[in-house]
Symmetry: C2
Subunit: 398 residues, 2 copies
């Protein structure tokens, strides 16, 4: 129980303690940890020898801290927990607490490579039915490997960054036309942040997931469906995705999600040996997608067919190296019901079945729309952890 007033039941109590990078009044970026609606300035804490991380907490991004590895992650977390629970530390720590509304959040880590998976069976099925009606919705490889592709690391942005409507080529009956995307969409996803690198040529076992992965961020993989539909054959999505990918400002450590691991769906046919994870666990994250403040969907992450450990094992089975700051995302999270889908493509069935948002009939995103994704996870002793939201507002094309 923390001595910070109001923090305990906020979803950001001492069970949680996510890391981020903040600025005050345009000052230098500093690493902090969130407690309730306050930020504990960890750069200040390390400078005052209240917490020791070899200087890694005095950096402008989380990368040096991410590279330290699990024993250090756990030690720092334990120390922060002490500082925020033992009243003896209150006098020293209180001056290092900054109200959230006085800070501006930055991208918490420098993204090395960004990979996006496609691991919700329901989402892949929905997309298949919408785009290829009458054909088997899942491609033949889908249940044999977690399909993924590389995205653009340089356009990963922090929650709150406006999203400028992309322009591009889109198909029409008379051939391709150029202009602003008319089918701008969201993809509600969960991203995994790699801390500990691996050398080129050595695969990472699924069992080593927690050795390499530091934590989790909510992620919105903004998608221009019309641009994507025209460009994606045969080499996959490119400009339909690369204009912006938003991530939450606060990275939730895996250590905070120990109570959220649950058995993942059974896999049939059996997977290749390198993809077997024992125990086979997903994460019970319950997402909510808000469209202009109105909840329109509640995607359940626990139902994902491929687990994050399997995704990591697949990503490296060819010998690909991991780097600190690698980010891989789950793919759109969709459950079996229409009010559980993670994209508006699915919510409106390719735009054919509009939904009512704040009294207006809607299909894809209009300029000025704001989409926010939140999630909760079970914490210890019946507590609830609130993952940091990812939000963005659409600006008109330039």
């Amino acid at each position: 129980m923390t001595w910070v007033t109001g923090a305990q039941d906020s979803g950001f109590g001492v069970q949680h303690l996510p890391y981020g990078v903040f600025r005050i009044d345009g000052g230098e970026p500093r690493i902090g940890v969130r407690i309730g609606n306050l930020v504990l300035d960890l750069a200040g804490a390390e400078a005052a020898d209240l917490v020791l991380a070899g200087g890694a907490l005095c950096q402008p991004t989380l990368n040096a801290f991410l590279a330290l590895g699990r024993p250090q992650w756990t030690a720092v977390r334990q120390r922060i927990t002490e500082l925020l629970t033992d009243p003896a530390h209150r006098t020293a720590v209180e001056p290092l607490l900054v109200p959230l509304d006085e800070v501006r959040m930055e991208l918490p880590f420098e993204v090395a490579d960004y990979v996006d998976f496609y691991s919700s069976e329901q989402h892949a099925t929905n997309v298949g039915e919408i785009f290829r009606p009458g054909q088997p919705p899942l491609p033949p490889n889908w249940k044999h490997l977690p399909i993924g592709y590389h995205g653009r690391a340089g356009t990963v942005v922090v929650s709150g960054t406006p999203v400028i409507r992309p322009q591009g080529q889109r198909p029409s009956r008379e051939g391709p036309v150029f202009g602003p995307s008319a089918r701008l969409d969201v993809e509600a996803e969960v991203g995994f942040v790699v801390g500990v690198p691996s050398p080129l040529g050595r695969r990472v076992a699924a069992a080593d997931f927690a050795h390499h992965v530091f934590g989790v961020v909510l992620l919105n993989d903004w998608s221009a469906r019309d641009i994507q539909a025209w460009e994606y054959q045969p080499l996959g999505p490119f400009l339909g995705k690369s204009f912006a990918t938003s991530v939450a400002a606060w990275v939730t450590p895996l250590d905070a999600l120990r109570h959220a691991f649950v058995p993942a769906p059974e896999q049939d046919p059996p997977v290749a040996d390198y993809l077997r994870d024992e125990p086979h666990l997903g994460l019970d994250l319950r997402l909510t997608v808000y469209w202009n403040g109105e909840p329109v969907s509640e995607p359940p992450f626990a139902g994902m067919y491929w687990t994050p450990a399997q995704q990591l094992a697949h990503l490296t089975v060819n010998g690909a190296a991991l780097r600190t700051g690698d980010l891989y995302a789950s793919g759109t999270v969709s459950g079996p019901r229409r009010d559980q889908v993670g994209s508006f493509l699915e919510l409106t069935w390719g735009g054919a079945e509009p939904v009512t948002v704040a009294g207006a009939e809607r299909t894809f995103l209009a300029d000025g729309d704001t989409v926010t994704i939140t999630a909760t996870a079970p914490g210890p002793d019946g507590s609830v952890i609130a993952l940091s939201a990812v939000t963005g507002t659409v600006l008109p094309a330039r």
Copy 2:
């Protein structure tokens, strides 16, 4: 004419002056420029005030120098040319020259995002005919936009780095099987190195190509055809490519290629406005692919359908930002004749028509094989520039 003996007609005379990063005896990485078979230590030259670049030449990678922009790139090049041509500088400069065989080359720049295009009409046609016989070989979008996708920046390696045969799932009549790739291939390409960044949300015009792009490297996009064939639907190549992409150790500045720009093939149908480049120029680079020392193909880069300026304009038309260190590659360079193709997939027509290499009948790469790609370009006054080779040897799967 340089005073460095033997340099002038080596392909690495003062017309060329490519930049790289070297180490001597395991020392710190240093920036250098190649002249003949020597390296001019630019870190030493800047420390001695022989050349001024605000400290950018005293860094462990080229990135800070790349970020300076064209006026500085040109000024530094002019100064280096002076140093290497005016005998008055010989006494000061000679101690900074290191024989190439005494250095070990490093990756010359930290790769930000890596994009791979697919811009040879002949290559795309060949691949279409091999993989989709009886269907139109080019996808319908091919002549409307330069198709591309993001690759793995973290596995871009410098020439000479061994390439470990990747393992993965590949298709068989009984379903997917796991093991070492049995169809390991090369792709002879030309890579473009971005120096000057661009902000998110602002497209880069084709006319601004030379403002943003610093130079050129030969590139081998190693490809496991069997892994790729099974995984690539619907989101494109992933593990079939991400195990290694080799680039030359020396980056040839665009300034060295002024005499290599030639009219690019006419484009029909007409391209969208944002893809119009006036003048519409390609580069007359003549590649040679050596398989275990034997030249097996001479891909002509001048015949590429999409130009590097068009690729840059396409890459950013959706508002995607550029970062210093972005690398984009042309796609496999193939000419119309069988002895002009840039992959062994094409050279052996999908493995159906083996070729004889050093007396043995061969289709794809065997362990121990070495592939080297070289290229020449026309320089001033009838001189010839030799692009730095990219080479790699295949090691057995681990």
